[in-house]
Amino acid sequence: MAGKTLYDKLWEQHVVKERDDGTALIYIDRQLLHEVTSPQAFEGLRIAGRKPWRLDANLATPDHNVPTTSAERESGIAGIQDPVSRIQVKTLDENCDEFGITEFKMADKRQGIVHVVGPEQGATLPGMTVVCGDSHTATHGAFAALAHGIGTSEVEHVLATQCLIQRKMKNLLIRVDGELGAGITGKDVVLHIIGVIGTAGGNGTAMEFGGSAIRSLSMEARMTMCNMAIEAGARVGMVGFDDITSEYVKGRPYAPKGEQWEMALAAWKDLVSDDDAVFDKVVEIRAEDIKPQVTWGTSPEMVTTIDGTVPTLADAADEVQRSGFERAYQYMGLTPGQKITDIKLDRVFIGSCTNSRIEDLRAAADVAKGRKVAGSVKQALVVPGSGLVKAQAEAEGLDKVFIEAGFEWREPGCSMCLAMNADKLGSGEHCASTSNRNFEGRQGYGGRTHLVSPAMAAAAAIAGHFVDVREL
């Protein structure tokens, strides 16, 4: 009998019941909640007179709507300027209080972007099923967990039943073998992969990242990659368990301790795809081929290398892509054949659930140290992913490095990733951003987003245009 993939194992371990129609009832170990997609779920419970099935499986924190300036943060919820944002944050607090769910509220040091907070607290553990009403829940798969985003009615379903009705997906392995060059980060690897397989490349699959290059990556880098599995069409991204995983998890507040730690470790060792596991599809990537990446268009697959150019219509694979290119040139204000290093930046955003962890901030600070943000850049923001990341960075003096270089040092939250709070791009502005989506209007109406790694974003802030971070 053929071996099993990591996904097969995680799936099997969570099946409560198979149904006749090919779906299965899957048990959920952890649900993360935030203010945008949970209010109607809680109200649904109230209307039906139901209670959460298991309180301790839930953890909540507000992130999408919270302001990131300390001035606005100081006055608490009442200080949130936008009325819809204020109501959503307030409602999350009220719902968590009413139902008895643990919440890291806005003023709590542990507050932050759910996908940063979960792993940081050890609330995301290997072997778990993790869900959240947010598509970037794929992030947590970096821990050899089965994690995916769900809709509001499913949030309610999980609250009430601790289960989800699911259909098993196909197995896709992205194997990156070889050694990554100096200065190449998880962000570059995943953008390169999306460039190769396209934004629909992972449709209907659970995407596992494997190979020697992935094994050498830190947990932060693996999270960055799994985070963007969704941009390659897969709801689930995963990396098998190894020593790097256990090192990261050990000692975190929600992680098992003592005897239970040993027991957990023994169980987690099996959370890898068997050598003879059969995948429905395998994509092989050579680590040596990967250079620093920059997206030029309005979809994450419209990506090229720092020494590259905006592609011409002749580079388009087909008619659909050709018209996509045309529309993207216009929206982005770029001309075919233009050098990437000639793109000038108006703003720079270092943050989001993709790249706002301590390692990301260190990489950016390394570049920023002793340098100055170019005068032509209107704003360069650094938004840590959580209160604890912020505290850690401050303990290391990174905040000073950023401030001295002319960056703004903010409070934790989603911020300019999706512009639900006051941090936004103006129309026509180009932004070097460490987030995950460069869709039209994502960072503000008419805003032009270029996705890059934290080091590349910091380098772009200093130069005022894109530069190769390896040549600094």
């Binding site: 009832l25 298991r54 009615s153 009430a160």
Partner: protein, 213 residues
Amino acid sequence: MKPFTVHKGIAAPMDRANIDTDMIIPKQFLKSIKRSGFGPNLFDELRYLDEGQPDADNSGRPLNPDFVLNQPRYQGASVLLARENFGCGSSREHAPWALEDFGFRAIIAPSYADIFFNNSFKNGLLPIVLDDATVDRLFKAVAANEGYELTIDLAQQKVITPDGEEIPFEVDAFRKHCLLNGLDDIGLTLQDADDIRAYEQNRRQQAPWLFGA
């Protein structure tokens, strides 16, 4: 979810094809954090003469006297008579929420948009499909008789008119079962509560660290 067995109520006619979800509940109300309370804004643009705002008091707003649901004879209506392709447009579940919150329990139309049709069942609202000619006949009967009430017997799959005519309709057996018993998706899953508990007990033994304080 409220079970649906036999329902009797005044029928109100929406004599217009392709009523879309934006007409049912305009997009400014989607910002709400609620799933109840949409009733006062059902058909907002047709029903009022001014523009509706979320979370505002609707009681003092100028009503459009020509709109059918504002007419005294249709007050308290709970069966909506509609034309083809009712509920087209977006997938917003706010549309059945608004109809239900207003007080509708059933809709009768020749056809529906797919997603709306599904969402209605999930929210205890019964969308009945009858052929064009029958629907047309009902429109005429409603217009001619003030206080025209229809009885809907889901178990028997019949619409019964005031003069005793019985009109049969089709409904998917599984959906019928859910509606009759008031089972939404959650209710259905909870029928397997014993399986969930058994699984949980087993998991607690194998992975006790997943079960915190």
